[in-house]
Symmetry: C2
Subunit: 793 residues, 2 copies
């Protein structure tokens, strides 16, 4: 047994950080794990509930919707019944909710393991998604720890949805589900001849759901059921289903019930005997495919193989980059959990415990895709291709879209399209892959253009959305969606968009130079100059930058405002973009420190709005201190870390980091409530009676950024085309740290010695035994390992 890290009354991290172990079924919220392989995803809560879907949650879920954090049901369960006593319980705490003699949940990377011991029967249920196929496996080990033989029956249970999620019109949709028992697969299939997608004649609601869902077992079930009322009973509950009163399930299938999946398996165990049973739940392309998948994975060997593959798959993503610092929270999150969160929940599943989604956001998954850079930059490249293909010739992009229905929405948001050049630049700085700029991608409305041209179209679109005094318009909103009332008449301005554009142009100019696109270079330079002048002229409010002006010219985020007089984004991006001179950079960040950096990270604005203001937008509709309205919006709070670091303020950078790094909330867990192993979308600000409460965990774009600011701006090690910049900005107390990463197929093993106990400044760098003169190491490109010794001072 290794050391337990960040232990509190609900659980702890294992010493290697790869598992979070929950020891009480009753955490402050149902702590979950999001398991996904890109094609199939499932959410497992520590209570054993959860839901699953395939490819795109909103479009073809296979089990039912989950919306209620209190009623953690509509899950997937295994009931266990003792045939001698007729007593029953569940392999997970829910739904029977019996106090177990032992209970433990391990959320790992790509799997969860739920152990329980009740009535001298010990069970270990391992749930994971097979790496390359659309199914999940529930591997149940069951052991008789009694001194006498035990005769048991296992019953699986869940509701099928098959298609749209949430399943809001169940009474109608259940009429179209057809279930069958399939002897060959020891299990059930479910099909649905109704789907909201359009058929070939463009008609919605007159086509089949094109998949076949299945649920099978490594043992031959003695019975099964497919109707909710048969299993649960009209006036009973998941806690006490009617099925438990009958020796066998009804073995009825067909089209006339309220479709569930339930298999009954008999297990007799001698004292001390153990048995493993595998259940599958999946969603195949055809009946043949379902047969193949069910039969392939319906056995212990293949299940164990598949689990090994899960571990190998994740090693591939996790092992190309490793930090070792004195901060265990930073180590665990950076090395393991933030990558896991960004990939499994954000990029692949696109759905979390608090939000059923499945669509792609143009900005969201582009930013998330930076998480691939250290392990598989092709992943970032693929997303750039996909997102570029969602751009029209006028430079506008689909704000969000769904991959199956192809439905989406183009908005007048003023920043979404700019993330394409922004993330492209980051990709180039990592890979130096300038050939990619010539790759042709089709526009959404026809025609082709290179990635370079796509990026130019984004930038040109932004150029076309300026106010008469040369500030970008707010449009429908900027990065801050809640500013939805400011600029809908296309008059209000966003200073933040100006800074963001300036940030992009500063890098894009050299790319345009590389492309010998002289006129555009000149134009970009002119506009940079213009933005710097105008933002500093019209956007500076004395001690900080304004967020915006309304359509009627009113300032937002100005000292004369009673509420929302300072916003976080325009300050930190003034620094990040370089638009602020040194003096203003320090001043505005001092204001951030004074008004925004609180106990749990940097607030998005201060003071929060107390009453709805239609002219500002729905941000003002949240209760004061909630989410964007004066809470810590984690996504932006991570950028504050970078801004402090860029100013060389290591203490504040680390403070801004430490306060939002989830394991650091472990001692404070009844206030925090969220999982300590993933970032929350936000935490309540000081005005909330729940100050510090984390919400909307898992499904947040902050995971990738928290990773990035740690390695690039605290550890300060970041690629820059053909260089690796080494510029730590760390707590003085640290003796140093190590950082190993892959870069363009080389491996750099960096050891930073801070025995001088400074927070910034590199005295000496020795690469493979050779001293280098600058803190920018030219990359080798030789696919070899290189040892970099850094002495701070």
């Amino acid at each position: 047994m290794g050391k337990k890290l960040f232990q509190n009354k609900y659980g702890y991290f294992t010493e290697d950080g790869r598992e979070y172990v929950i020891t009480s079924p009753k955490t402050p919220k149902p702590w979950a794990n999001a398991i996904s392989n890109g094609d199939y995803s499932t959410i497992i809560s520590q209570t054993g509930g959860g839901f699953s879907w395939r490819t795109s949650a909103t479009e073809n879920r296979i089990t039912r919707t989950f919306q209620d954090t209190i009623k953690d049901d509509w899950g997937k369960y295994i009931y266990i019944r003792d045939e001698a006593t007729k007593d029953y319980w569940s392999a997970t705490w829910k739904p029977v909710c019996k106090e177990s003699d032992f209970y433990e949940v391990r959320h790992g990377i790509g799997y969860s393991v739920i152990k329980s011991r009740d009535n001298n029967i010990a069970t270990t249920m391992k749930i994971f998604v097979v790496p390359d196929n659309p199914l999940e496996i529930w591997e149940l080990e069951i052991e008789n720890t009694d001194t006498k033989e035990r005769q048991l029956n296992l019953f699986t249970y869940f509701e099928w949805a098959l298609g749209d999620a949430p399943d809001i019109n169940r009474e109608f949709h259940k009429l179209f589900i057809d279930t069958k028992y399939n002897v060959k697969m020891n299990g059930l299939t479910a099909e649905k001849c109704m789907w909201s997608m359009e058929n070939s004649r463009g008609q919605a609601g007159n086509t089949n759901w094109p998949y076949v869902a299945f649920h099978s077992c490594s043992e031959t079930p003695i019975a099964y059921d497919t109707d909710k009322e048969n299993f649960i009973g009209m006036y009973s509950s998941e806690e006490h289903p009617k099925a438990m009163d009958n020796s066998k399930l009804t073995c009825k299938t067909g089209r006339y019930g309220d479709a569930i999946g339930a298999l009954q398996v008999t297990v007799n165990l001698e004292p001390g005997e153990k048995k493993k049973i595998v259940f599958t739940l999946g969603c195949a392309d055809s009946m043949e495919h379902a047969d193949y998948l069910a039969n392939r994975y319906n056995n212990i060997d293949e299940s164990e193989n598949a689990f090994n593959e899960v571990n190998k798959m994740w090693d591939k993503y996790l092992n190309t980059e490793n930090i070792n610092t004195p901060d265990n929270g930073m180590n665990i999150m950076t090395n393991i959990w933030l990558k896991y969160q960004a990939l499994s929940c954000r990029i692949w599943g696109r759905t979390g415990y608090y939000q059923v989604n499945g669509g792609y956001g143009f900005r969201d998954q582009l930013q998330d895709s930076l998480i691939y850079l250290e392990n598989n930059p092709e992943g970032t490249k693929d997303r750039l291709r996909i997102h570029a293909s969602q751009q029209k010739n006028d430079g506008s992009v689909t704000h969000w879209w769904r991959p199956i229905s192809k439905k989406g929405q183009v908005s007048r948001c003023s920043d979404d399209f700019l993330w394409l050049p922004c993330i492209t630049i980051a990709y180039l700085k990592e890979t130096n892959d300038f050939d990619f700029m010539d790759e042709e991608i089709t526009y959404l409305d026809g025609g082709e253009g290179s990635i370079y041209e796509h990026c130019k179209k984004s930038i040109n679109r932004s150029f076309a959305m300026f106010s008469p005094r040369g500030i970008p318009l707010m449009g429908a909103h900027d990065w801050n969606d809640g500013l939805s009332g400011i600029g809908i008449d296309m008059k209000g301005e966003s200073f933040w968009v100006g800074e963001f554009l300036y940030y992009i142009l500063s890098d894009f100019i050299s790319i345009a130079q590389e492309k010998e696109d002289k006129n555009f270079v000149e134009k970009c330079k002119d506009i940079c100059e213009l933005l710097r002048t105008n933002i500093n002229k019209y956007g500076w409010d004395g001690k900080w930058y304004l967020q915006a002006t309304q359509d009627n010219g009113e300032k937002v985020g100005a000292k004369y405002n009673e509420q929302g007089f300072i916003y976080l984004n325009p300050q930190i991006w003034a620094v990040i973009s370089g638009i602020a001179d040194n003096d203003r950079a320090k001043k505005c960040m001092d204001s951030v420190s004074k008004y925004l950096l609180k106990d749990y990270g940097a607030l998005l604005l201060f003071p929060e709005y107390s009453t709805p203001d239609e002219k500002i937008g729905y941000i003002t509709r949240y209760a004061p201190g909630l989410r964007e309205n004066g809470g810590v919006y984690t996504h932006a709070a991570t950028w504050a870390v970078r801004a402090y670091a860029m100013l060389g303020d290591a203490d504040k950078a680390y403070e801004a980091y430490r306060k939002i790094c989830p394991p650091n909330r472990s001692n404070d867990i009844d206030t925090y409530m969220g999982e300590p192993y993933v970032t929350p979308g936000n935490s309540d600000g000081p005005t909330s009676p729940y100050y510090g409460r984390g919400s909307w965990t898992w499904f947040t774009g902050s995971a990738q950024w928290l990773h990035r600011v740690a390695v690039q701006w605290i550890l300060g090690i970041r690629p820059n085309y053909n260089e690796l910049i080494i510029d730590p900005c760390i707590p003085k107390e640290w003796n140093g740290f190590t950082y190993t990463r892959k870069l363009q197929d080389d491996i750099y093993m960096i050891e930073v010695d801070n025995s001088a106990h400074v927070s910034k400044g590199v005295k000496e760098i020795i690469v493979d035994g050779v001293k280098v003169e600058s803190n920018k190491i030219a990359t080798f490109g030789d696919k070899k390992e290189h040892v970099v010794k850094v002495i701070m001072g």
Copy 2:
């Protein structure tokens, strides 16, 4: 105690038919009552669950969505706790689900009463909606039947939704609800500063929900709560809420929880002592309005007054027409429940237990409005006005729309617009109010036209949608929505639409003559002739009429089809419209009798489709025997009664009626499952393993039609402009019947003597002592009572 009618193991009708008494909490489905005053509606199930909303269910519900017929929760509950033992139960069976010593539910007209006795505490909870104000009252009488003093606490509990229903994104929407305790009203208010409706700038999601919901009590609560997690507990349930373990609720309100309403009231009762307590739940226009309503109804006297008003209101609707026949089921349904169902659920609430809706269907509520004719024809007239205002200048109409958001959909459905002249004709036949034809109504896209012109536009639109061989096109679908794949290329034909148009024209010609609209008269006559010729030429299939042809010319409902070779509608409407000659009318109705008239009424088609056929439409996607796919679709099954009666086949007419009249399923209740006091949308056909199972009760347009075919086509008494036609078509066995009704402010008391035991034929009619020569009595128009004696023979 009166006679119990139609008693079975779950309940019975009271002798006067005004109540259905349920004696077991566990009926085969949660039998419900839909209570509404046109402005506020609530559904109460016999288990005590239910939900409520105001004006338009989909748009501004105040409590949460209900979708799951098994998990009958998300209700409104009163918990009762004994302070000596800390034992608790609920005034309704749900949510605590304790076996009571006595339990009884009475669903009455405009109210439900739930009685229970547990632990020597008897409670009677009466729930009703106040006639003219947007609130419901829960009047609880609580009695100590014990021999010692009892100290009790009552706790109300429900979840607020406030706005869109279903509340599918609760985790987001709960952030915008604000609750307050209001000492002056002894209760809670709830507001929400987010609504999906558009604001004045056309922006959705940036405006307040404009109502104030409230929940108050006639007693001063000792405590209250507004957060679900406080009350229920994170890992507990409505069955065993955490609040029951604490002496007092937390008294927290505000904007940071998951909003519920819960009031705690202490009640101490001496042995034998009784007490009445009134709770209100409502949705006001402002805080002042909420204060006013809560305070006005927060007391026993006003609650009792309001309940008397409920009874008076319903008397007004029910007492203007009364039948007394040997068939108790017909009497109860016709006199009471069908009117109640059509008004409270269909016209006012527009939402039922199985369907959350709130929108108006163009066809639906127009047909439903015929229920007003005998009690308040102004109601029909108002609906004609409202629906006419949903017509555009091209004659098309909004297929459905929502009254608050004004959102709706114009489709290429081929019959919706025709219901405007159809229902107008029925209104004229009842009222002879030809002045109404000149009333100007604005078109949806501007301009005005008289009702006559609106009707003409409908008819002209139909004239413009003909196939080259002179049959109306199917378009998106006809009355049978599920025929959604037949005619979307605007080539397929609907013979039923042809018959329906013919039916309308036959009556409209005389109206056009009245308007001296000669060209149009001539046109209508020509098209009538054309329709008669073409439908009989192309639509006759040897023994019955075809339903349709597909875009590719394939016939639907033809003897060569393997499935769906006969459809009900084209046969019965060939008779109803008069398009079939005597010979074909008899032949096609013989085919109906042979293939379609089964144990539980007339099937919509035969044989049902076993596999989805995109070219026919989503009707083929239902499991065989379900709903339109070969089930009894009650709406159409009522029309079969009329068709048989028009052919003079009294036995078959009565058979077709009797089989779908709900009380007649009382002996068969475990097969039927539905409430015996309201019509179901459909019941399963012979192929279903649940053959005879009623579904989609309450929210079905069949209620009004079942009323109408009974009085107009079995009893055979129907107004015809200035006449009252008396043409019974009754079972020979009947000795006669009486029928009293209001007609144009006269009262006609009709006694039909069938001592001759014929099924048809009127030998003698004596009106106010004077023999009349025909079976058409000229109406008096003198606002007096007239006695009509009819002797059959």
